[in-house]
């Protein structure tokens, strides 16, 4: 405080020392300057004159020698001291006092100081000087970072703005040179240069100030006309031309610093964009394409701080609705978008993955920034066209992988086994990995996904869906991509997994979404798009084609059918098949997407959607069936079902409806059977009442077309029977184990037999009914089945089960019906059909096993056909037939004894005998031949067979004779073991 009062006195000698003309020692000047600084730091300047004088005196210290343009050849320390003294001076000045410096009259003085400092900042080598010069400049333009300064009110700011406008060209050009200068100058310099740049530009070009600038230049008093000439009038013309120039500079700076290696520079760039966008969104519209590009590009910066700040800024922009309210900005953005979309395919072709990534994030950023204004862009035909074409090209899939076609699902033989593991594998869900032509990285795809979702989120859904549906139908080339885009659009529209900056204006209309989904779903599952050729199995192809043809006749007016149909002589290459497979997969994924988008609302659509999906789940191509299962899992989640099983169980009525209707058309039969197949595999016994209904349809359909469709239907029958065995297996198995023991006991205790069987049967029925009830617990109409089942039980108990004419339980009745058909098909001309029939037969026998009095007549009827298979057929068939025989023997016991010894045994033993020499001679390769397997099976089976059938002595002798040969050392080891 004391110093404050003595300030002028203390300063006087110092100022005098500076002012003394003639050469001075540099060190002296430096010390004087430092002294002034410390005095000023401790006091404040209260007088305008003092301030102005000090200011000018300090500036003259650095003034170049008169005449030369170079700055004075002074030492760096001195320069630094001057700058610091200036800095302190500015800080020590009182608020009102300092404003006196910013009058038009002091313009020359200020100009001198500014140019001085700029010169230092640009040309000096020392980092320190550069930075302090820039800092000092910052103070000089009243934009210091520190808090002490009084905030300028509007008029004052306006005044300063007017003033600084004169310096703007000089400052901005120099600063841009500094910014784009050598990287070696260090990031601090660049950072402060950038900061200064945006501060000054933000001040001078502020929208608020420019708006208040009067149209015409004020007439100033004549005596100040010289100074007035220096003043700039910030009219519209001026601001326009300045903006153009600034735009050039900004472009250069942004280009340079957005790839600057130091993250702080990039961070400062973000700040720059932020500041300018906030303050000059109207005056600098022309530069925004660069600025936004930089900003959006930096969203994916490797430095997390830059990233987060960038996101913040974007968020801020979006929240303030700068874009939404500013039509011009939206125009800029849409223009950017347009050019980017145009260039996108080319860029995707040429850039590396990193480049692609940044390009796409740019695209995404534009879309996000546009937000609700996206519709402006979409409403322009050319924009939408460009954008969609770009997406189509970028998303092109690579369909050259041969493996996709080759990967087949296991045939039906192993059908029931892997169902458990299958479900496990799929439960994780998720999409199939796709291979794109233009990129390999997953994150690129994620970006594209986001692009589509953001589009769907903000955009007019009807317009978009309509457009992409158009592309979908337009050419097979775009179909997959369009489907992918559609899927994501819907997901985005529902707000699933979208990452956006601002809420959309009108919240989602569920009805609209539903309508769109329904129309897309219809298109996807249209015959022409759903049944595509995916394999070269001649059998299947002909079916597919007949389907397509029938599809064509069914809808002769269909617009896209013509394009789709293969030419009369279809050249089905692996490529097209691959592409078809992918298309189906994408469509399946789409169904899953839609389910996720609609949630429980999707339950209504299950009516039409579930059937096609299940159909594909039964497809032979691994990829398709897996995708379909994934879709099922998705649907389960979306609709709130616990598992695929409950999904199928609860919607089995829809499925059965579809199956039964499709069975009526020859061409659709294979598909219907696929659906049934899948349904059975993923479900449980609770389905039985409905399945029973539909199996009757299957059987009647089979009856109508024995020749052509036998093999497809057999597959279904096989899965039906396999399912029955599985569902009712435990009780069968139980029985199975009990039977032999009971029989053994009966031999010793002829009295006990009846009691045992009675109890046993009773037990079985109780078990059965209990199971039945459990299984039917959640069925809509359990009444009927129980009504059928309970009375027989009541009747059964008092009766002797052996004589009771109990009606068969439904599944056994089914097995009986199936067996009936098998008898006819056993002598089919096609070996494959025969083999299948034998398999089915075996399962039938297993199911029918507990119902002896029904099985025996059937066995009787089956016998002749079976014998023919055993005696004179292809070895493969004989093998299977023998297996059936063994199963049958287990069940029917002595019923078969007579027939076996009469019809089959002689043939078997003779064949064994005749084969013996051959196998004795054969080498190790023989182990892999069919004949060997047959021998092995027969030898292994014969023993137990004889035991079960309780063979007579003579027959046993025959068997023994035949087997004895095989005990010979010359026979292969395995055969020997089996013979023992």
């Amino acid at each position: 405080a004391a110093l404050q009062e003595l300030q002028e006195y203390v300063l006087f000698p110092l100022r005098f020392a500076l002012k003394v003309p003639g050469p001075k020692q540099e060190r002296l000047v430096q010390s004087v300057l430092q002294c002034i600084s410390s005095v000023l730091a401790a006091t404040c300047v209260k007088k305008q004159e003092l301030l102005q004088e000090l200011f000018s005196e300090l500036c003259t210290c650095l003034a170049p020698l008169s005449g030369s343009s170079k700055p004075a050849p002074l030492s760096e320390e001195l320069k630094l001291a001057v700058i610091q003294a200036l800095h302190t001076l500015m800080h020590s000045a009182y608020g009102d006092v300092i404003l006196s410096l910013y009058q038009p009259s002091t313009l020359p003085l200020l100009g001198f100081a500014v140019s001085l400092l700029l010169g230092l900042a640009e040309q000096e080598k020392a980092k320190q000087i550069k930075i302090s010069a820039l800092k000092c400049l910052q103070v000089l333009v009243l934009q210091c970072d520190c808090q002490e300064h009084r905030h300028l009110d509007e008029d004052e700011a306006q005044q300063c703005g007017d003033l600084f406008a004169s310096f703007l060209p000089g400052i901005s050009i120099t600063l841009s040179r500094v910014v784009t200068g050598d990287i070696k100058q260090g990031h601090k310099t660049t950072v402060s240069a950038i900061r200064l740049f945006y501060l000054i530009v933000g001040l001078v070009m502020a929208d608020g100030q420019l708006a208040r600038v009067p149209k015409n230049k004020e007439k100033l008093p004549a005596e100040r006309s010289r100074i007035t000439e220096l003043m700039v009038h910030r009219g519209p013309d001026w601001s326009k031309s300045t903006a153009e120039k600034l735009s050039l500079l900004l472009h250069k700076m942004v280009e340079f610093s957005s790839v600057h290696p130091h993250w702080k520079v990039r961070l400062e760039l973000v700040e720059l964009v932020h500041h300018l966008l906030r303050n000059c969104s109207r005056s600098l519209v022309g530069s925004f394409s660069h600025l936004l590009k930089a900003l959006v590009g930096l969203v994916t910066d490797e430095n997390s701080e830059v990233q987060s700040r960038c996101n913040e800024v974007l968020q801020g922009i979006a929240e303030q609705r700068i874009v939404a309210q500013n039509r011009a900005l939206a125009d800029v953005l849409s223009e950017n978008l347009h050019s980017l979309a145009t260039a996108l395919p080319r860029l995707m072709n040429s850039e590396d993955d990193m480049g692609k990534f940044s390009t796409l994030s740019l695209l995404l950023g534009y879309l996000k920034l546009l937000g609700p204004k996206i519709n402006i862009v979409l409403n322009s035909v050319s924009h939408l066209h460009r954008l969609s074409k770009a997406l189509m090209q970028v998303l092109e899939l690579d369909v050259t992988d041969v493996k996709i076609v080759e990967d087949r699902r296991w045939g039906c033989e192993s059908a029931c086994g892997p169902s458990g593991s299958l479900q496990h594998g799929v439960l994780k869900g998720g999409c199939q990995k796709k291979y794109f032509r233009f990129f390999t990285e997953e994150k690129v795809f994620r970006l594209l996904q986001q692009v589509c979702r953001v589009l769907g989120y903000y955009g007019n859904l009807y317009l978009l869906v309509d457009h992409f549906m158009g592309l979908y139908g337009e050419s097979a080339l775009y179909r997959k991509q369009a489907a992918m885009v559609l899927n994501e659009l819907i997901a985005g529209a529902a707000g699933v997994g979208v990452d956006v900056l601002q809420e959309r204006e009108d919240s989602l209309n569920m009805d609209d979404l539903k309508a769109s989904v329904t129309s897309i779903l219809d298109e996807y599952t249209d015959q022409a798009n759903w049944y595509l050729i995916t394999s070269i199995d001649t059998e299947e192809i002909s079916q597919e084609q007949s389907v397509q043809r029938s599809g064509l006749t069914a809808r002769p007016g269909g617009a896209c059918n013509g394009l789709l149909l293969p030419s009369p002589e279809p050249q089905v290459t692996t490529r097209t098949m691959n592409s078809n497979i992918w298309q189906i997969c994408i469509q399946l994924e789409g169904v899953g997407c839609f389910a996720a988008a609609l949630g429980k609302e999707f339950r209504l659509l299950l009516l039409s959607a579930l059937y096609p999906v299940l159909e594909k789940a039964g497809d032979k191509t691994l990829l398709i069936s897996e995708t379909a299962l994934g879709t099922l899992v998705d649907i389960c989640e979306a609709c709130g079902y616990d598992s695929v099983r409950s999904l199928i169980n609860e919607n089995s009525d829809y499925l059965v409806n579809g199956i039964s209707l499709n069975l009526r058309q020859l061409a659709h039969q294979p598909h219907a059977s696929q659906v049934l197949d899948t349904m059975l595999r993923h479900s449980d016994a609770s389905l039985l009442p409905l399945v029973e209904d539909v199996i009757q349809d299957v059987l009647s359909a089979l009856d109508q077309s024995y020749s052509s469709q036998a093999s497809t239907f057999l597959r279904v029958l096989h899965s039906v029977m396999a399912a029955l065995v599985q569902w009712f297996g435990p009780s069968c198995g139980e029985e199975h184990q009990q039977r032999p023991t009971a029989e053994q006991r009966s031999r010793t205790l002829s009295q006990g037999q009846q009691v045992v069987t009675k109890q046993e049967v009773e037990q079985f029925f109780l078990d059965y009914v209990r199971q039945k009830q459990i299984a039917e617990g959640n069925l809509p109409d359990p009444g009927d089945e129980e009504a059928d089942e309970v009375p027989p039980l009541a009747k059964m108990e008092p009766n002797n089960p052996d004589t009771g004419e109990a009606p068969l339980p439904a599944h056994a009745q089914l097995a009986k019906d199936v067996m009936e058909r098998c008898i006819h098909l056993l002598s089919d001309g096609n070996l494959r059909v025969r083999l299948k029939v034998l398999d089915v037969l075996e399962l039938c026998v297993t199911v029918l096993h507990p119902h002896g009095n029904h099985l025996l007549p059937m066995a009787h009827r089956v016998w002749p056909a079976l014998v023919t298979r055993l005696i004179s057929d292809d070895p493969l068939a004989v093998l299977r037939a023998f297996k059936v025989l063994c199963t049958l023997a287990e069940r029917c016991g002595d019923f078969l004894r007579q027939r076996f010894s009469k019809d089959v045994l002689p043939k078997l033993t003779s064949s064994l005998l005749s084969q013996a020499p051959a196998s004795a001679r054969a080498g190790p390769v023989y182990n892999h031949t069919l004949a060997f397997k047959l021998q092995l099976a027969v030898l292994q089976g014969l023993g137990s067979l004889c035991e079960k059938l309780d063979m007579g002595e003579s027959d046993l002798n025959k068997v023994a004779d035949a087997c004895l040969i095989y005990l010979s050392a010359k026979q292969p080891m395995k055969l020997q073991e089996a013979a023992q």
Partner: protein
């Protein structure tokens, strides 16, 4: 060449008993799903939601005895059902209730479906077979007061009434009753006089079903024979055979003329549904889906013609629903 006959739009399963009667109620406003009522042999009335194709509720009011007639009274909240337990029940279904509000005991044990006619808002006439073998009784609902009993002349030997159709030329006009009898004749009754106006012997066998178009003053009846008989009503209230149509297979269990009077559907014992043009009885389609006798056919009352449906219930426990409006 004509298009092949269409497949059913969808099939409703789960009644687990033969379906004897069907009745649509689809006229309601958008948020309410269109409904189909079905009465089946196990005494349940199922209320099908035609949006989800599933049973909304199952009404049990006839003691597990077959239900063979279901009608709505006004909206879908009031329902009339007739069962083999000799009761006609009136249901209140509003707001999820499922209660029988009233019932009429029928002394007749035949199969004759009752017929319902709205004569004024909130007032209905119902014709049903009466206790005496040949008689028909007409009640007013909901008051249950007897309006008249229609007795044939002594010695007419018509047998039991088999099917009834109450109608009136226009609102407020004299209600009339058409009744088909066991001996194959169709009789037109005047309700106020309680007197037969005209009698026509259409069939050799009992009349199984009939429907009447009051605009064209023409009616059609089917019996267990192979013949459909179309008859017209002259101004003197006189029935006359107009035309007969021979069928391939015998037995018609139900005939319904579509509300717009353009086509009619028959439910055949040969498992088939046949569609005819009503004007000239031109056969239009044979809908083949069921695997057992079709018991009933019914047209829906959707407001929008393109949504309208035909449903058929059969002994095979299924209800097939067809969309044939657009194709005819």
């Amino acid at each position: 060449m004509a298009l092949p006959p269409p497949d059913p739009e969808f099939v409703l399963r789960g009644t687990s008993a033969a379906v004897h009667t069907l009745h649509f109620s689809c006229g309601s406003q958008e948020p309410d799903a269109p409904l189909l009522f079905s009465g089946s042999e196990n005494g349940l009335i199922h209320v099908w939601n035609l949006k989800t194709h599933r049973v909304d509720t199952a009404l049990d009011g006839h003691g597990r005895k077959s239900v063979y007639c279901v009608e709505t009274m006004g909206g879908k909240d009031r329902l009339l059902s007739q069962g083999r337990d000799q009761r006609i029940c009136l249901w209140d279904l509003a707001e999820g209730r499922t209660s029988v509000t009233d019932s009429v005991f029928m002394e007749n044990v035949g199969f004759c479906r009752c017929s319902l006619l709205r004569v004024a808002p909130g007032r209905w006439l119902m014709a049903m077979a009466a206790k005496a073998l040949e008689e028909v009784q007409v009640l007013e609902l909901p008051s249950k007061t007897s309006v008249c009993t229609l007795k044939p002349e002594v010695g007419a030997k018509l047998g039991m009434p088999m099917c009834l159709k109450l109608w009136q030329l226009s609102c407020g006009a004299q209600p009339l009753l058409l009744a088909g009898y066991e001996d194959g004749s169709v009789v037109l009754w005047n309700l106020s006089m309680g007197k037969a106006l005209s009698q026509l012997d259409c069939h050799q066998e009992p009349v199984m079903s009939l429907d009447f178009d009051s605009e064209k003053a023409k009616g059609i009846s089917g019996s267990s024979e192979k013949v459909l008989s179309i008859w017209s009503l002259h101004e003197q209230q006189n029935l006359q055979v107009y035309k007969t149509h021979k069928l391939v297979n015998a037995g018609i269990s139900d005939i319904t003329i579509r509300p717009d009077k353009k086509i009619l559907a028959t439910a055949g014992w040969d498992h088939r549904i046949r569609i005819f043009g009503w004007k000239n009885l031109k056969p239009l389609a044979v809908l083949d889906y069921h695997t057992a006798t079709v018991h009933c056919v019914s047209f829906s009352d959707h407001k929008n013609p393109s949504e309208r449906l035909l449903a058929a219930g059969s002994k095979d426990h299924r209800i097939s629903v067809w969309s044939i409006y657009t194709q005819t």
